[in-house]
C-alpha cells in the first residue's frame, strides 16, 4: 500500500544546497542535539573519532538512499519500524566490514558503539525528516552533508580530548619538543581524568556554552532593534490570509506580494 502523494514531497532548492546547508546549519551534535552517546564515548582520540564518524556516515548515506528509493512503498503506520530494519541491515554490514578490515585497536575502542549506530537518532532522524520525502540523489547528498558535519564535530571534540588527556594527536606524542638539544616545549603531564567520563561531559558543556554564546551575540544584534532588520526565516513573515477571502474589498492590493517591510 503506497503512501499517497499528499504534498509531503520536499522541494529541492538545489542539489548543492542539499549538501552545503548541512554541515554547519544542521550540525550534530552542536546544533541538532542528537547522537550524544557515541560522540562522548569514542572521542578519546582522533583516530577513534574519525572511524566512528566514517562508520556512521557510511550507514547514514546507504540508509538514506535505500529509504529514499523505497519511500513510496512503505505504509505510513509502520514506517519507523521499516526504517529501523533498513538501518539495522546496513549497520550489520558495516560491523562485519570493520571486524574484518579495521585494526583491532579501533574495534576494541569503538566496542558496542558500532552496533549502537542502529539507534543513533541522527540516522533515524534524517530518514524521517529528509529521506522519506526527497529523491535518492538529494538524500545521498544530505547524508554526506550531515556526515561531514558529524566528522567535523568529532575531530574537534576528540582532538581536544586527545591533546589534553593524553598529550598526543593521532597517536603521535606532541611533547616534549626538543630542538637542537634544547627543550622548547617541556613534557606535558596529561590529565588522565579528563580523558575519562568527567572530562567528556565538561568539555562538551563548555563547547555547547561557547556555541551558545556565539549565536547569542548574533541574535542580540538582531533583537536590539526589536524587529528583525531583514527577514531571517519564513516564520518572520506574517502568515498570508486565506486566499478564499470574501470577494470585493479594495482593489489596490495588487497581485504580487510585497515584502512586509518596516
Amino acid at each position: 500500500m503506497a503512501r499517497p502523494r499528499d504534498g509531503r514531497e520536499g522541494t529541492t532548492v538545489g542539489l548543492w544546497q542539499d549538501f552545503a546547508d548541512k554541515p554547519i546549519k544542521n550540525n550534530t551534535p552542536f546544533v541538532v542535539v542528537l547522537g550524544l552517546c557515541p560522540t562522548l564515548a569514542v572521542s578519546t582520540s582522533v583516530k577513534n573519532g574519525v572511524s566512528m564518524a566514517a562508520a556512521a556516515t557510511a550507514v547514514l548515506v546507504c540508509s538514506n538512499v535505500l529509504i529514499s528509493l523505497i519511500r513510496r512503498f512503505i505504509p505510513n503506520q509502520i514506517r519507523i519500524a521499516c526504517y529501523i530494519v533498513v538501518i539495522a541491515g546496513f549497520v550489520t554490514m558495516v560491523e562485519i566490514v570493520m571486524k574484518a578490515l579495521a585494526p583491532d585497536a579501533i574495534n576494541r575502542a569503538l566496542g558496542i558503539f558500532i552496533p549502537l549506530i542502529v539507534v543513533n537518532c541522527i540516522i533515524l532522524g534524517r530518514a524521517e525528516a529528509f529521506a522519506s520525502s526527497h529523491g535518492p540523489l538529494s538524500s545521498l547528498l544530505d547524508g554526506l552533508g550531515i556526515g561531514l558535519g558529524y566528522l567535523l564535530s568529532m575531530v574537534l571534540i576528540s582532538g581536544i580530548r586527545e591533546v589534553v588527556a593524553a598529550g598526543m594527536l593521532w597517536g603521535y606524542r606532541l611533547t616534549p619538543v626538543v630542538v637542537a638539544g634544547r627543550t622548547i616545549v617541556p613534557e606535558y603531564q596529561p590529565i588522565a581524568v579528563l580523558g575519562m567520563a568527567p572530562g567528556a561531559f565538561i568539555l562538551l558543556g563548555l563547547l555547547f556554552g561557547l556555541f551558545a554564546w556565539m549565536s547569542d551575540r548574533r541574535r542580540e544584534a538582531v533583537r536590539r532593534t526589536g524587529v528583525a532588520a531583514a527577514p531571517q526565516t519564513a516564520k518572520d513573515f506574517p502568515k498570508p490570509a486565506k486566499a478564499a477571502a470574501q470577494g470585493g474589498g479594495a482593489p489596490g492590493a495588487g497581485p504580487a506580494p510585497a515584502a512586509p517591510g518596516a
Binding site: 498570508p240 490570509a241 474589498g249 495588487g254 506580494p257 515584502a259
Partner: protein, 298 residues
C-alpha cells in the same frame, strides 16, 4: 562456496523472518487484548491541534481538549494558538457550527518606563518579576507598575514578547501573539491581559493610588481626573473611573479614540494604527484584496 553462502543466507533470512513473525503475532494478540476504545474523531482533532499544550482552552493540554471536543463537552472555538483555521477544521470534523473565533492579543497595561516612573530602591535579587514583587511589592515607586525584569518575555512559548532595553518594559509582537495567556498568568502585578484584537482603546495603567500620589510616582499614570469619562460619546459611557483608575468597558466601547486625545497624562493607548498596518501587510503579502471578515482591518 556459493552454496554455503546461499544456504546460510537463506537460513538467516528464514530465522529473522520467523522471529519477526513471532513478535508480530505476540503484538497482534496483545493489541486485541489491550484494545482501547477511542473515538476516531478524537484522533483526527488531535492531529490538527497546534500541540502547544498551552492550556488557554481551559483543558489540560491538546489531548484533553480533543477528548472533550469529541465527547461534546467543549466549544469548538477555544483554541487560541490555532486561530480561525483550526476552528474551521474542528467544525468540519465534528460536523457542527462553531461560533466565529474572536482573535485576541496580550496587552501590557503599563507605560511606566525607566525614564517615566522612578524606582524606590536598587534591586539586586533574582532577575524575576515574581521574586521582586515578593520583596516589598518590587523596586518600582508605583506598587502597581511593571517591574521590567522580563519574566513574561521568558515565559512566552511563542517568542512573541521582547524586552525593550531602553524603556525596561515588555513589548508584545502582536503578529506572533497567540493569546495563550502564559504571560498574563506569570505577571505578579496582573499587568498583562488578553483582550480582543478588535478593541483598540485600552487604559495603560493599573494604579489604584489617588491622583496626587500617582503624579509623584509616574509621569504617565492615571490620575483619575475623569476627563475621559466626560469626553466619551457613548450613551451611558464606555469608560469609567473606579477606585482611582479609569477602565474601558469592552462591551460598549466603539474605539473612537476621543478619550485618548483628552487624557492629560496620556495613559490611554490606541492600538488601531499598529494593528491596521499589520493587517494591511498581511493582506498585501497574501496578494488578496484587503478585507476579510475575520480581519480587524475590515
Amino acid at each position: 562456496m556459493t552454496e554455503l553462502i546461499a544456504t546460510y543466507a537463506g537460513a538467516a533470512v528464514i530465522a529473522l523472518g520467523a522471529l519477526a513473525v513471532f513478535f508480530g503475532l505476540v503484538l497482534a494478540i496483545a493489541d486485541r487484548y489491550f484494545q482501547v476504545q477511542m473515538d476516531p474523531r478524537q484522533a483526527q482533532i488531535e492531529e490538527i491541534l497546534p500541540r502547544a499544550n498551552c492550556g488557554s482552552c481551559g483543558y489540560g493540554g491538546c489531548a484533553a481538549y480533543a477528548e472533550a471536543l469529541a465527547q461534546g463537552r467543549a466549544a469548538g472555538n477555544q483554541c487560541s494558538p490555532g486561530g480561525p483555521a483550526v476552528v474551521k477544521k474542528i467544525a468540519a470534523i465534528l460536523g457542527i457550527e462553531v461560533a466565529r473565533f474572536e482573535p485576541k492579543v496580550a496587552v501590557v497595561r503599563c507605560q511606566g518606563s525607566r525614564d517615566r516612573a522612578a524606582d524606590r530602591f536598587r534591586y539586586v535579587g533574582e532577575r524575576d518579576c515574581r521574586a521582586a514583587a515578593a520583596t516589598q511589592y518590587g523596586q518600582k515607586g508605583c506598587q502597581f507598575g511593571c517591574l521590567g525584569l522580563g519574566t513574561c518575555v521568558r515565559a512566552c512559548p511563542f517568542d512573541a514578547m521582547v524586552a525593550d532595553e531602553a524603556s525596561g518594559l515588555p513589548r508584545v509582537l502582536e503578529e506572533r501573539c497567540t493569546a495563550c495567556g502564559t504571560c498574563a498568568a506569570v505577571c505578579p502585578k496582573n499587568i498583562i491581559e488578553v483582550l480582543p484584537k478588535d478593541r483598540y482603546v485600552h487604559v495603560l495603567c493599573r494604579s489604584l493610588d489617588p491622583g496626587r500620589v500617582v503624579r509623584g510616582l509616574c509621569q504617565v499614570g492615571c490620575i483619575a481626573c475623569k476627563a475621559c469619562e466626560k469626553a466619551c460619546p457613548v450613551e451611558g459611557g464606555a469608560i469609567h473611573v473606579r477606585a482611582n483608575l479609569a477602565a474601558v468597558d469592552m462591551a460598549t466601547c466603539i474605539s473612537c479614540g476621543k478619550c485618548v486625545r483628552v487624557c492629560p497624562v496620556g495613559c490611554i493607548g490606541d492600538f488601531r494604527k499598529g494593528r491596521k498596518e499589520a493587517a494591511m501587510r498581511e493582506t498585501v503579502a497574501a496578494g488578496a484584496p484587503a478585507g476579510d471578515a475575520a480581519d480587524p482591518a475590515a
